[in-house]
Point group: C2
Chain length 509, copies 2
Amino acid sequence: MIRLSLDSLVRIFDTTLRDGEQTPGVSITPTQKLDIAIKLDEIGVDVIEAGFPVVSEGEITGIKNIVKQNLRADICALARTVKSDLDAAIDCGVSYVHTFIATSEIHMTYKLKMSKEQVLEKAIWAVQYAKDHGMRVEFSAEDATRSDRQFLLKVLKGVSDAHVDRIDLPDTVGYATPSYIQTLVKEVIAATNVPVSVHCHDDFGLAVANSISGILAGASCAHVTINGLGERAGNASLEELVMALQCLYGKKHNIKTELLFEVSKYVSNTMGVIVQPNKAIIGENAFGHESGIHTHGVINNPMTYEPISPELVGRRRWLQAGKHAGAHGIRAMLLEFGIEPTDEQLHKIVEKQKNIADTGNSITTSELLSIAGEVLNSNKFEEKFKLHDFHIVTGMKMIPTAVVRLNTHGKNFIASEIGVGPVDAALKAIQKIATEVANIRIREYRLDSITGGSDALAEVSVKVEDLDGNVISAKKSGEDVVVASVQALMDAINKTMLKKLLDSKHRQL
Amino acid sequence: MIRLSLDSLVRIFDTTLRDGEQTPGVSITPTQKLDIAIKLDEIGVDVIEAGFPVVSEGEITGIKNIVKQNLRADICALARTVKSDLDAAIDCGVSYVHTFIATSEIHMTYKLKMSKEQVLEKAIWAVQYAKDHGMRVEFSAEDATRSDRQFLLKVLKGVSDAHVDRIDLPDTVGYATPSYIQTLVKEVIAATNVPVSVHCHDDFGLAVANSISGILAGASCAHVTINGLGERAGNASLEELVMALQCLYGKKHNIKTELLFEVSKYVSNTMGVIVQPNKAIIGENAFGHESGIHTHGVINNPMTYEPISPELVGRRRWLQAGKHAGAHGIRAMLLEFGIEPTDEQLHKIVEKQKNIADTGNSITTSELLSIAGEVLNSNKFEEKFKLHDFHIVTGMKMIPTAVVRLNTHGKNFIASEIGVGPVDAALKAIQKIATEVANIRIREYRLDSITGGSDALAEVSVKVEDLDGNVISAKKSGEDVVVASVQALMDAINKTMLKKLLDSKHRQL
């Protein structure tokens, strides 16, 4: 049994597949569960809480499949302090059980309808039962942060005497403050001499700060989830906690930080829960810059406006044209395409794109290039692929079908395709031509959420890839999601063609 | 001049319209800026930072319009420590200027290319210039948390001697820790005796914790944004900070918390930046429950699994069927429709819906009702509106047109409509019939973001409203956004019809 190891690595207990999957409305298949577990293992989490077996048959299958995979990470299953739950966990083949019972007055009275004595007895019994079955056991006193301190310590001393391997202190409704967690962790360690974990929820936006406070107070492990998924506002985000511990506190851990972005995207796609653009570390904007002052700073030295290098978390920085963009940022963006305007031309380009932005529109790179072409009086930045028209028929008991007409290199091309829906059909038809003519394929399609009405603005972004592996993206917004999708794809294709042309000119110089 | 007032209210300085609008890719029109300012005033922020006038003509128009509105909140404009910026701010008609210059080595060397002496001189000059023009002045030492402490204090003493009204300490790249902010704020207050604000960024997920730490150390004001918008990972979220200060620290403020959700949605829709479901206070899931243990607890006493009552922030709790749902939650959801299964029937219903969820699908209320109808061997939960079929033609240079065929009350109805896109056309055609037959209208349409490919799952939710003001929503996911949208609307209409029927039966008893 591990007792207060002096190991300086912070242990990362990932509960994306348990607390994270309890996100309301999220359900994944056993196969998806396994795929996520493999990703979690790759990124280096120390423990994977694989699920709560008693929940459903699918959950049991999912956990069993993960155990069979023989991953490097410890695989853990959740169980209440009742025999059927513990047996279900043991039957899954795990060697590590996380068992819990609530110790707060409100939970004991209204949910458990049990006395303190009954709760104490159950907790000790469950730890003993699991230990007797050869399990390593982590015990959580649910709602620890709202529990009477004396009773909590009594329960934790009880399970400690029953040889529990680890104690977890859940801040079940995210009600704790950093200073409260600090005293709680210190008292529990002093009273039990057992390694302590913290499990913090984000109901007031304090999950990461509370987890850090617990670790600084002596906890050796934090329960976290990818993207901060979990009940209600979710749990502490793995990516935020790990980067804060590493960069702000010099703490060590086993996470391969350069995989953070990839794993975040994988979990977001698989579980179907979006990450907002302004989310630390993994949000789309975390390394994006628009304001003139910021882009100017970043061009001179990225550390002026970035706390860490984006590559550290598997990302790249990007600049955005727009109302706040200044001459330095726009010059840098144009330079990427080999365009070097004079100061006077640059000034005109900046003003023109600000005027568009003042009308509430965002500016795509293609639009910026087209403005530059206008100001520089050059047609070399013109669209290479011109959309002539397209039409679509779709409905119920019909296969969505699109026909597109494009013009490129002076020739007309017509293609038709079917798809799972009208957008898919239209994009596939365009891709058919783009692949044939220029070896360009769609790599990613993304539609930002629409709120308000069915006539609200939709924002689409499309990434395309050419044969050389260049990936270029374009965004477009509009009221018609099909038209916006088609325009975004056309924009991305044209940017790719233009980049290719300009690159080849560069090479000739 | 206000000096260290003993006012116990924490002052809320909202910069949604300045730092928030600097979110990469976000541009709003002057009219939208005014609309948001009015909302901010209604919710009770003390200061509205309306913008950065020198950025664009539209920005200036937007700020002037806000000033003319004569709001209760102070209106502030941002300016670098240069004459043109300060003049632009003064010309907007504000009486409050927020001026800034960076004091960190990295910013002075790489961005400003200025010596310490030049920075000190500029800072003092700008404060004097603005004061001479009758302005109240807040001075920010940009990148304060990465600045040499002695130099920072020298600059802040300098501006204090120039009669600055307020000093702001920006954690420009979100690099500070709560304990760092604490010592910084204490030192600055001791050295200057001027009221202090904190301006924290969320690059490591610590913006709220750092802001709280600053306030506990004596800062009287925090700069925040709605939804935590802002450069990169954004600023401290107004809603998280205010609720944490109130609920965890017993601090007072002027914010009308019951408007938080409404204002959050308004800003998200207007600026086009989504809020993730697992965002504290304002995220869709912040008061949603699926897991059996949680729904059981919440039904007995909401405080078991909710830190605050959702009504406090203008929201309602909701329960979700699914793999983790237990008998208590499902019983409560069915009871809402007047359905009271026996224990055995309930058990069957729970199992059936778990089996569906194990295949990775989320369960709508209609589906749950249909499962209940099956188990109870009753046809009274059947769909009242049956979709026979629909078809759509759309494209470029075409007006999207939909034709739908529905059957209700044994009659067939056909309707066609045009729309801004295929989804809009289809929904309007169905609404035409639903309004005519049952006085049901679409109130809100929402499409969650799609990531991955154009054939990835889209999740649609539709809210409808009947004549009595009942609002009922339904969700549906599918690969075809048009089909999923149509199904979600049909589901919402059927739920409304069913509720009406069951309500009237209830009343007859």
